[in-house]
Symmetry: C2
Subunit: 445 residues, 2 copies
């Protein structure tokens, strides 16, 4: 258990910890039963820590009499997430549990896509007018904190048109002389996000500027809400999970592994597998064209997996590196030329190293087992040369594929390791047998 | 450009934005030159936003006269990162630029590993004694904020032994009646982290509890510092990058893609590629054992890439899903049995679907091109059956490998897509030719 408590734990606290650990293994009914047995205060803390999906699931099992007080525990941004996580039919009912002003706030939030800044922001934030004094601002702030605010990081200065005109950190507010006005101490340079900014871009903004909160404004500069960094933590985890799952060749699961039902899981996975399988059939077509060569020199066939996998592996490496660098904003579309030069050199060098290993393997087996007859040197040269070509080609296409995908508006992470491997397998076979024809023509072939 | 400014941009601000965008393309000398041309206030903001490696690089180019004031801009946790990012020889010099008390703080931080809670925490935090009144606490806090604090999220209550005994949120402090004591309003249940907690576990703690800050204590419960969620954003990005790079079959790069030198890059990549290449040589050995069968029925060879890649792809999928679920704490070691049952069923079902596609491919080509003579049905059955076996085996071994690696104390992400594919290629060949021997014995073989 990773958390430490300052006091020795009471039985009730242990029950909460137990429930936290076993939660994901329980059925919805078991969850509700265990939850109902918690003391109210513990239950509230536990409820607030749950993901929106689980909150919605619990809420709909709680008796209609009690449901309202639970729904009203949630701040508006979390309430919006719960409504979004519920089935379409239940949404209206959940919204009606809220008080009037909160309901309007939640409805406004629901108008935004879940994955843009407007969908992540909290519409309640600490605000002051520019012309009040520091002391007035502090007592106004104390009142706001009491009523509506979850967190105070920065106090935003809003003019009469509801436009954001500055920001004061709590630190500056506290340390300013009581009689000065906000206008005198506020900072004019505010890093703000537009309400339609994509959450991935937003998370880069947080990482780049090390901010605790970013204000959200609309196209006219009106202040709409605040996104805090703790919401971004979930976003970053989610985006990384999606990328990793795509790189592994699955559609994004969108729920924890053990909570996805088996039919759902298979649906997310078999589509890609089938598409790759059908594409990989091109290897059969490609190899069939060389059936005569294989019949004459069966030894050529036994090296096929070795050679094509060297291309697949180097391609997976290159595409994964480029995909991640793009996701972090380290590499953008216009860097394609620099990346290509770099990967061409890397591919040639790495192909050279593997080629020497492949050449040596054949010569070594020949020396020990006499496996390859008097054409051993020619076979070794074929393998060595083909590996250089295949690895270079794999590296190059693996690194360029994400650029191509992004260029046509697709997610670069679609260039999954299996996708690249399949692409490179087909060309790898053609490269290998072409090299073989050149080197072995007149001797083995 | 993702940030909006409330005022129209001055030329100086534009210069900062330009520098931000071109930064990663510049050499250290060009960086220093451009940085030197910024106005002091802009330069300070820019400097504070840079990663520690770049801060160290700049600091060492700044003249020794000015270097001190730049180093002292940094809060102690960032100063520690800069010292850690500098070469061993430069560290002493950088430390000497700090004032005495800060230097001791930084040295204490340097004693922790970079990737544990102690290495991430800020030793300065808002603290009060339990027996002061709310009003006294607020004015004491105003004084602390002015002097040393970067951010105030929670106020920590420390007893005479320097032990953490409670916490008061700013919200509760502000809304409490002025005359009550801290002891009366503080919360006793504090989620704290031990100073040696791993950063990955720490980031899960943040995600799970949606906290803005977590206090760090030593084994005796003494308060050592606070980790804030904005530091965790970087940690989460880093950990995801490491996992993604490992899944792609590279050692973690530990720097942005375009900033890693070519020799470094090749060193990180060719080791794994060579290891995989040597392992993949087992496919050659395996296929050589079936050379007689291939000589008799060359048609068998042309399906090898198709069949082994179906195992590699399903294995990459399964291992990637399990690796990510483990990193997020959704799946732990003791879940292996549930995962295995699940993946066995998925593997059989997905293998069945792909097997039918493979069977149909052969029969279709036979119907159209008469590619496979009068043994077509037998060949189709061989392919279909082998695909079921290979996909099931691939899925099963891909999902179990991360458990095995974690069990023996290795990083599960080492079960990279290329690693799993290589493992499954060898067994895939054996499964395929064994099925072929069984089905085709007496006819084609």
């Amino acid at each position: 258990m990773p958390t430490l408590r300052t006091e020795s734990q009471t039985a009730a606290q242990l029950a909460v910890e137990d429930l936290r650990e076993t939660w994901r293994l329980l059925t919805p009914e078991e969850r509700f039963e265990a939850f109902s047995e918690l003391e109210r205060a513990d239950a509230e803390d536990f409820f607030l820590d749950l993901p929106a999906r689980d909150q919605a699931e619990l809420l709909l099992q709680i008796s209609t009499v009690q449901r309202r007080s639970w729904m009203r525990l949630l701040p508006p941004d979390d309430a919006a997430d719960v409504v979004q996580a519920a089935d379409t039919l239940d949404r209206e009912g959940l919204l009606e549990l809220l008080d009037g002003p909160t309901r309007s706030e939640v409805m406004a939030l629901l108008a935004y896509a879940e994955d843009e800044a407007g969908g992540l922001m909290n519409p309640r934030y600490a605000r002051v007018r520019p012309d009040v004094s520091v002391d007035e601002a502090i007592s106004y702030l104390r009142k706001q904190v009491r009523e509506v605010l979850e967190n105070v990081y920065y106090v935003y200065v809003i003019d009469a048109d509801q436009k954001l005109c500055g920001v004061v950190s709590l630190r500056d507010l506290f340390s300013a002389q009581p009689g000065r006005t906000i206008r005198e101490i506020m900072s004019l340079e505010v890093t703000a996000a537009r309400d339609d900014m994509d959450q991935e871009e937003l998370s880069r903004l947080f990482a780049e500027h090390d901010l605790q909160a970013i204000p959200v404004i609309d196209a006219e500069g009106h202040m709409k809400g605040v996104v805090t960094v703790d919401d971004i933590v979930d976003v970053i985890q989610e985006e990384a999970t999606e990328d990793i799952q795509k790189i592994g060749g699955t559609a994004a699961l969108e729920a924890p592994y053990l909570e996805v039902s088996l039919p759902q899981m298979i649906k997310k996975r078999v589509g890609w597998l089938a598409a790759l399988f059908v594409s990989e059939m091109l290897t059969t077509t490609a190899m069939s064209r060389f059936e005569a060569e294989i019949a004459r020199a069966v030894v050529l066939a036994v090296f096929v997996p070795l050679i094509i996998s060297s291309g697949g592996n180097s391609g997976s490496q290159a595409s994964t590196l480029v995909i991640r660098a793009m996701a972090l904003g380290e590499v953008t579309l216009r860097d394609w030329w620099r990346v290509m030069r770099r990967e061409l050199t890397s591919g040639l060098l790495m192909g050279g190293i593997l080629g020497v290993i492949g050449f040596s393997r054949v010569m070594l087996w020949q020396a020990i087992f006499h496996s390859y007859g008097h054409h051993a040197l020619l076979i070794a040269s074929t393998i060595g040369t083909a590996v250089v070509g295949v690895v270079t080609w794999g590296t190059l296409s693996g690194s360029m594929l994400p650029f191509l995908l992004r260029r046509v508006g697709l997610d670069p992470a679609t260039a999954s390791a299996p996708f690249v491997a399949t692409l490179v397998d087909v060309t790898g076979i053609v490269i290998y047998f072409s090299v073989a024809s050149l080197v072995l023509r007149g001797t083995l072939l």
